[in-house]
Symmetry: D2
Subunit: 118 residues, 4 copies
């Protein structure tokens, strides 16, 4: 029996954001926006988008939140705000030189140690 | 010559989070945490992690932020906080039934219309 | 000489928000909004307003932020966003039964112990 | 009859933060921290504290949040986090030259116009 093949198989990624990273690099470069995309600026922009996402949930109980799925207009806003947060988060990681898949793998492992399953 | 083949080729994804989605579903199920993962709870947890990420940048100027890359301890904290925000963001999208790749594709298209490249 | 008079003098308050507390109670009652003003709802609304405040600073360097003071339009937006955050913060404290002046006095004392002046 | 006395009476303030403003100016000066207290730095620090406040509510339903009042330990944490957010908010307004009482008066008036009472 040979277990090496298992060991040597590359792990499936937790997150592959290469397409989004490339699209955002190109988007920023084409508009000469790279000089604005410092980590601190992106952190503030991320905070702004997180605020817009929070507003979607602020006056709703859990049943009303669940009903958003059935309202095309509300679901579209939810998709947009989630996308906005994701775009700044991935861009922030990119300009900081952080490999998100690696970071996630590390953090999941730590979480599993910190909160062992029963 | 036929250009339809190009049209019909599946687009490369902007973001593939399937691995992370599956890992988090399993993590929550194994700990009976699914009942805690309502959208509003996850939104508050996301806000908490965004706060921890912001703290890394709060008293630093741009040069000091850039230097974080060269400090193994600070870079590890940065990786961790970015991973924490990503984990709650992807989990929130998952419990809301939002396909992030689709949402991102839509938002990038809208952004390109709103801010045309010169 | 008698120093007791100093000791027994009531301390000047750090923060007196009674006017705002009363105005917001009346505002909510007149619109039947009290049922929406749960701590968790107000926390999400506060997050939303913090996001709007952050947006004012996101693409500006320190000199550009300082210049906001001289732009009537930008200064008005800054005033508004600061007021919005303050309103939800004071309302949240009120519905949680927290006396902000007492809480601030306590926290300033702890901070002075944690970070002694040189 | 003379109504001028009413007109000329100063309005009771909505918020009087003079004590806190003075205490924080002194605290920062004594530690040579004024150079750190730029608006953008304070905005990020505020975001950090808002995150800590959000964490107190993240896994609790409304009944569990209400019960925090009866737990001395949890109530103290709530007081502390509310105080931390308030301290950075008042400091941010101060370094931006914003008079919070004036800003609040203005915003309450606008809100009353935007959402007229029935």
């Amino acid at each position: 029996m040979n277990t090496r093949s298992t060991v040597m198989q590359p792990l499936a990624p937790l997150l592959d954001a290469q397409g989004l990273i490339a699209a955002q690099r190109e988007f920023a470069a084409a508009r000469d926006w790279e000089r604005f995309h410092t980590p601190r600026n992106l952190m503030l922009a991320l905070t702004g988008e997180v605020g817009e996402l929070a507003e979607l949930f602020q006056w709703k109980n859990d049943a009303e939140v669940a009903a958003m799925t059935h309202s095309p207009h509300e679901f579209e806003r939810l998709q947009e705000e989630l996308a906005d947060v994701m775009m700044y988060l991935v861009r922030l990681a990119d300009v900081c030189g952080v490999d998100l898949d690696h970071a996630l793998r590390d953090k999941l492992r730590k979480n599993a140690q910190k909160y062992p399953a029963p």
